[in-house]
Symmetry: C2
């Protein structure tokens, strides 16, 4: 078996699993009750799974030093993005994130490459870019199609 081109699960290290999960639930996601436990929470996304797990335990599970706890606006080096079909959809998601208590890192604006995006951080500083990219077609189930 090889390293196939895919990601099945993204796990975000968080300070408090319930607090982190409550934020995503306020945004409209529903936890997988069957898979979640007190120490870990799972969300089934359209195209992969998201897990929330204590940051120190996540580091230890990988055999790594956890380092400093994530702080809002301290950059992890990773961004997660959601592409949307229009600029107004971006505005709407950012407004919803603001209402759910997100830290709006960047209010929606035009990008240098011809798109439109806004950025928010969750309670642990994980970064979500909400983006309209007119050059990457979106499929009905919310995946982007790249040129070959």
């Amino acid at each position: 078996m090889k390293f196939y081109p895919g990601i099945t699960l993204v796990t975000l290290g968080v300070e408090n699993v319930e607090r982190a999960g409550a934020f995503y639930e306020r945004l409209g996601w529903r936890r997988s009750k069957g898979a979640s436990q007190a120490a870990i929470m799972f969300f089934a996304l359209n195209n992969l799974a998201l897990a929330l797990f204590p940051r120190d335990a996540l580091a230890a599970d990988a055999g790594l030093d956890p380092g400093a706890a994530g702080q809002p606006r301290q950059f992890s080096g990773v961004t997660l993005a959601q592409n949307h079909g229009s600029r107004s959809a971006v505005d709407s998601v950012i407004a919803g994130a603001r209402a759910a208590g997100a830290d709006i890192v960047k209010t929606p604006c035009d990008t240098a490459w011809g798109g439109y995006h806004g950025v928010f951080a969750d309670a642990d500083g994980h970064i979500w870019e909400i983006c309209h990219n007119p050059f990457f077609p979106l499929s009905a189930n919310g995946t982007v199609t790249l040129p070959p």
Copy 2:
């Protein structure tokens, strides 16, 4: 439009886009030539897109301070996972990653929860968990199915 349950793009901040991309190509992935440019490299995965982009530029694009550059074994707070159908598949992927120059952070071993996994870091310290989880069924296209 709402915050639908999905991730369309994961972007990893890297020191050198070509060097980072060459590693994933050694693992068998092929860059999207149509979407990639000198400053950014894209890979079309089964279920979302992966981008490699200079870490400082990625932070600046989100309006954030880049902080210290990622170092191998300095934990970002995020792990990306690939689930596989068997323990031997995990062994095989980790062996391939080792041959491609990955830093093997954890050699494959049993997990406390009844699975089996190994962990490697790419050249910028981004963490991949290669995992066999007998409790999460895998679909043919490499996505996990969580209980509701």
